[in-house]
């Protein structure tokens, strides 16, 4: 087997001493975590290690000795070789560096005291199989400690399933308390390992940390009040519930409440995914609020609200006028098509009456619109998503007449298609068996056949007129649906985009690791293989996939074919997803 030694880069130039680390169980590899410098008292080293073992829950041992040639320390080598008798071990590593050479030499001593594998360059009396059987993997201790391997394994118990690299990453991450020992600390032991450049905390950060707990408690209490309000019976009466499930503002409020519950729960996030979810939601929330405030600062300056109101009413008026003209065009001979005149007139008058109602409604509303807009605009301080949802709702309310036309047209068309299909079956001497869910043959009377054929003819000849109305209003409706869908998409994007994870990937790529990559360092003959281990960051697409906050857009959508089919048979289409139709 090949012996692998993971060696931290920062210990390359450490003074001579003892190697502290861990043998990875089941694998032939060792992770070096720190170097304890000479001079030390062996008893104190043992005490320190047991103390660290209980703190880090990592099986820390003395792996071997490390010698770095220096002036005036000639006798050190033999001394370090003798150390192996003091510390209990199964294998003892003797790493040494020679001045002027970049590579190390390594010698492994088994428990019985005889050298198992010699790698000294000059005395190669062992057989060739034992040659070159040591790999040095140089790693950056800080990056490995902070990084998180993906896919994330949450449960800690599955250590036997985890691979060698994962165990190595875990070992380094768990032995973080070992690295708190500062280089300049006064103490019996001197260690070399990675250490932070000082833990000087800014006073603001500390204050925020102190303040976050009471703030979280207050917000949780407010949330519970909100949930208590929501649980009133009046909100569960049928029309209120139905309307609130269709208004995107209410839906957005529900999402926000859910998110707050996740973020402000006083329980500390234990796992990596939980922490990332909290951070993502919090950062998206902050960005959302910031964008909303920007919008407000733009909106409430230079009297833009009244300008908007002044353009909105004429625009709605204009739309109604255009619709009126369209209807008048349809009531004549649209595009040279010859329609059934009586039905055409009836339908056209019906729709015209609707538009009349609509215009009077708009007139009634017009003096209040500015005020309504002013108050509604304030919701933007809750975030851009709220402003967008309100906009979507306003669009839905202002185009209510289009929706009505569409529903009438669709219902009429649906009835026609339904009647035609069943009469077509009658025409062929068949009928739909409801119990068996299939088409059966059936013998009809002469009268039934006569009436059925007559109705079929009438329906067939009236179909083009209804189909035309349906087509025109469906197109109008689709424009509105597309606009609303666009708003929904952007709201959803802000809600679910993992901003924190993306920022982490951009600024600290090693924090989200997909794996590792190795690079062969320039080697000198007669020394073991030296590899440099670097962290391979996760791809942006995988970051997005892994960390996005689940929202309703994550569920499978209707395909385009399904949409076209719905449109063809005259079923209603909505910008929002219908959950009730899925269940039954």
């Amino acid at each position: 087997m090949v012996l692998k030694i993971f060696f931290p880069k920062c210990c390359n130039t450490a003074d001579s001493g003892l190697l502290v680390g861990r043998w990875i169980p089941g694998q032939d590899s060792a992770v070096v975590l720190a170097v304890i410098h000479y001079p030390f008292i062996p008893g104190q080293v043992k005490k320190y290690l047991t103390q660290m073992r209980s703190q880090t829950k990592v099986d820390l041992t003395v792996l071997g000795s490390w010698s770095m040639p220096k002036d005036g320390q000639e006798g050190m080598d033999s001394f370090l070789k003798d150390l192996s008798t003091i510390f209990p071990h199964s294998r003892w590593l003797q790493l040494s560096r020679e001045s002027g050479k970049r590579a190390f030499t390594c010698r492994v001593v088994q428990e019985n005291g005889k050298p198992a594998a010699k790698k000294d360059g000059d005395d190669n009396n062992d057989d060739d199989d034992d040659k070159d059987k040591i790999i040095f993997v140089h790693y950056d201790q800080r990056k490995v400690m902070l990084s998180q391997l993906h896919p994330v394994q949450e449960q800690k118990g599955s250590e036997e399933e985890s691979t060698e690299l994962r165990t190595m990453f875990q070992t380094v991450a768990q032995s973080e308390p070992l690295f708190f020992h500062d280089m300049y600390d006064e103490g019996p032991l001197k260690l070399t390992h990675w250490q932070s450049e000082g833990r000087e905390a800014s006073i603001i950060v500390e204050l925020v940390k102190q303040a976050s707990v009471p703030v979280c408690i207050v917000l949780t209490w407010l949330l519970s009040v909100w949930h208590w309000l929501c649980s009133f019976r009046i909100f569960h009466v049928w029309p209120v519930q139905f309307i609130s499930s269709k208004l995107s503002t209410c839906v957005q409020t529900g999402y926000r409440a859910d998110h707050f519950q996740t973020v402000f729960s006083t329980r500390k996030a234990t796992t990596h995914m939980e922490f990332m979810r909290k951070a993502n939601i919090f950062v998206s929330f902050l960005v959302d609020i910031a964008l909303g405030l920007l919008l407000i600062s733009w909106l409430y300056r230079e009297n833009r609200i009244s300008q908007l109101a002044n353009t909105l009413v004429p625009a709605a008026d204009h739309v109604a006028k255009e619709l009126q003209e369209l209807l008048e065009w349809l009531m004549g001979a649209p595009a040279g098509l010859k329609m059934n005149r009586a039905l055409d007139q009836v339908l056209g008058r019906f729709f015209l009456y609707h538009i009349h109602l609509w215009i009077s409604y708009i007139r009634l509303m017009s003096p209040f619109i500015e005020m309504i807009l002013w108050y509604v605009g304030l919701t933007a301080c809750l975030g851009l998503t709220f402003a967008l949802s309100v906009l979507s709702d306003i669009v839905a309310l202002l185009t209510f007449h289009i929706y009505c036309f569409y529903v009438y047209g669709a219902r009429l068309y649906y009835l026609k298609i339904y009647g035609l299909s069943s009469l077509w079956r009658l025409f062929r001497g068949k009928k739909w068996n409801v119990l068996r869910q299939r088409v059966d043959s059936c013998s009809y009377d002469l009268d039934q056949l006569f009436i059925g054929t007559l109705l079929f003819t009438i329906l067939l000849f009236l179909l083009p007129t209804t189909a035309l109305y349906y087509l025109v209003f469906t197109l109008l409706r689709l424009v509105v649906v597309m606009f609303q869908g666009l708003i929904h998409l952007s709201v959803d994007f802000i809600n679910s985009f993992p901003l924190f994870a993306m920022g982490l990937r951009l600024c600290r790529p090693y924090r989200v690791a997909e794996g590792v990559k190795f690079q062969v360092l320039s080697e000198e003959p007669g020394t073991p293989l030296h590899l440099r281990m670097e962290i391979n960051p996760l791809k942006f697409s995988s970051v997005l996939q892994c960390y996005r906050t689940p929202t309703y857009s994550c569920y499978p959508k209707d395909s385009w074919v399904a949409l076209c089919k719905k449109l063809f048979i005259g079923e209603l289409v909505y910008p929002w997803r219908q959950k009730s139709t899925k269940t039954d």
């Binding site: 691979t163 060698e164 990559k517 190795f518 062969v520 293989l529």
Partner: protein
Amino acid sequence: MAEEGPFTDISGKPISLECQNYTPFCREFTVSSPKVSLLKVMGYTCSVWLLAYAVFFLTENTTVLSSAIMVTLVGMILHIHFVKVDQETLLIIGSLGIQLSSLYASGRESTTFIEMSKIKDIVINEAIYMQSIIYYLCILIKDPSEPDGVASVVPLFQSSKPRLNCLVRVYKSCQEIIAQSR
């Protein structure tokens, strides 16, 4: 180790295989395909520009010309950044793992490392590609649930597609190392 014999890819273009033996259990194979040929780039650019000029001649709209320049530039950048692979490297380290990396013409490098404990074997496989049958080298990944099963297959040298004689050389030395580490 110097390369032996001229190697070609499946369409007959010359490629070069470079083997580097660091130690008996660590080898690196680099398959490099020819660089982007200037003639080809010139050809594409000229054809797009001539087309644009023809359209410009008909419509007399100068935005056509500027958009043609933009299209060629953006197309070239996308091509060298995402499509054209200059070098593919297979680094096999006994008992540690196998690292695949491909170097794009723009200098972008994408690397994956597969640990030895996950690898079942390296084999040469046959595949039907358009109208012909080609050989390719692939790594079989172990299925963690059942010891004999293969969870997935990772093809090697996907963009340079060398012929069988080149694959056999890589295969033999890879097998040597895998056999050692078992």
